[in-house]
């Protein structure tokens, strides 16, 4: 066990030295893997941020209830009492038709039109504050529609739902992209290891002749794939982080126009760690496949 650990440590050090000894090739390989991983990673970061924005927006979805014209004061009071008992409705604000008309009159765009009106065409209305998702609103819908003296129920969540669906779609696209590029990463490692095996052909042959086990000969290549994958993952994180810094400058300027201080967040520590582990695993997998395929070809003659 101690021997095994010692050999791993020695191999690890040797592999690092080897990588450092050929900085240009190492850098290029790491960059290829880094860029390949950065694409889906960046997409994932954008989606994560968009997701949190929509959650904020949908935090208090509103529902407007327009009352039938014949609804009287007693009906309104009864409705208000009932609305407050419906689970999922946080607050119900009554907006009388006169107040709604005043609001339109104050608005520059509609003031002229409103002035020509003989009678007030607007109904009385309730604006409901609800807590919860689009799905919950859907559940509320039939219940609200069944209330007496209600002419129309309007949800303002339709576009939010569309956005959520769009994000879901993009998520699938990112997942497909990530899968494809993961194969790319495996292929890159496969090829690097193949070249490395060819470079060390003499050493492998001599090692086999003097009694090295297959496990011993394979080990440095596994280390190489693992380290290269992890470095690639690190490069991907750095690329995405830099892109985010650059984007945030523009986003902040845009957000300020809307009176918001929104900016792109970054991954947490565990997400970063998960990515590194995943990248290292893919590197190892590429190395494993390459070693299984190419090492047997080198037999002493």
């Amino acid at each position: 066990m101690i021997t095994w650990l010692r050999q791993h440590r020695r191999t690890f050090g040797l592999t690092l030295t080897r990588l450092a000894g050929n900085p240009l090739a190492t850098l290029l390989n790491v960059m290829v893997i880094g860029v390949a991983l950065a694409l889906p990673l960046g997409g994932y970061l954008l989606l994560q941020n968009l997701g949190s924005v929509t959650r904020q927006l949908t935090g208090n979805p509103q529902v407007s209830l327009f009352l039938a014209p014949e609804a009287g004061k007693a009906d309104i009071a009864a409705l208000e009492a009932r609305l407050k008992q419906i689970p999922g409705v946080r607050a119900a604000r009554f907006i009388p038709r006169e107040q709604a008309l005043e609001g339109l009159k104050r608005s520059e765009n509609t003031a002229d039109v409103i002035a020509t009106l003989q009678v007030n065409p607007l109904p009385d209305a309730f604006v409901l504050e609800t807590g919860g998702s689009a799905a919950e609103l859907e559940r509320l819908e039939p219940e609200l529609k069944a209330l007496p003296k209600i002419a129309h129920v309007q949800f303002d969540s339709a576009w939010v739902k569309r956005l959520e669906t769009l994000i879901e779609l993009s998520r699938t696209a990112v997942l497909i992209l990530a899968t494809l590029l993961a194969f790319g990463l495996i292929a890159v490692t496969f090829n690097t290891i193949r070249l490395q095996i060819l470079t060390q052909k003499d050493e492998i042959e001599v090692s086999k002749l003097i009694g090295a086990t297959d496990a011993f000969i394979r080990r440095p290549f596994f280390h190489l794939g693992l380290i290269q994958g992890a470095l690639g993952g690190l490069a991907a994180l750095a690329i995405v982080y830099l892109c985010r810094l650059i984007l945030n400058r523009s986003i902040l300027a845009l957000a300020q126009l809307y009176g918001s201080d929104f900016r792109l967040g970054f991954f947490g520590f565990s997400d970063c760690l998960a990515l590194l582990v995943f990248a290292a695993f893919l590197g190892w997998l590429g190395a494993y496949m390459s070693v299984s395929r190419h090492l047997a070809d080198i037999e002493p003659k």
Binding site: R6, Q7, D202, V206, S207, K208, L209, I210, G211, T213
Partner: protein, 217 residues
Amino acid sequence: MISFSQVRKSYRGGHEALAELSFSIETGELVFITGRSGAGKSTLLKLIPAIERPTSGTVLVNGQNIGSMRRPAIPYLRRNLGLIFQDQKLLYDRSAFDNVMLPLAFTGHAHKDAARRVRAALDKVGLLAREKANPITLSGGEQQRLCIARAVVNRPSILLADEPTASLDSASAAEVMEMFRSFNQVGVTVLIATHDEALVQRLNPRVLVLKQGRLAS
């Protein structure tokens, strides 16, 4: 220690390198295998470390049957053998010291212990002063001695050498032969394939003469 019985080895394409070969070598013997090029000397030597497997017949090394040996067992067989090649097979990307260190890398010796053994082996072949040199800067005789140091660093019980003096001048060749004799004197079984008859006669050892894959007596 090493025993061949009815060994036949034919390569793909029908070329028969060894035929009906039977002999045995006891522990501590010094044996030469001579014969013209193509007589099967190299093939015979390759059968012992399982680089080649016999087509039929039995090759026993330390009681292990080479023909039926499973792949994972082969490295452990080879660790008990010291192999010396005509083309040395040294690695030119590292020092003489690191070349000799190679067999100890996978046996789990502590670094300090391994380094001591490497220096002892280099000392035995007279290359201790050149331990930091790259093998490419060594002369032909020195390279062959370095190959010997690498073969003995693991203290094998059997040394196998395939044409170890082929590319050496007569003085270096005599030196190398003297080295084999001194290893044999401390109990190592030594098996040397060579076509240099003059060198063989001087040592007066047991000689196996191969002719077209058979023993000629």
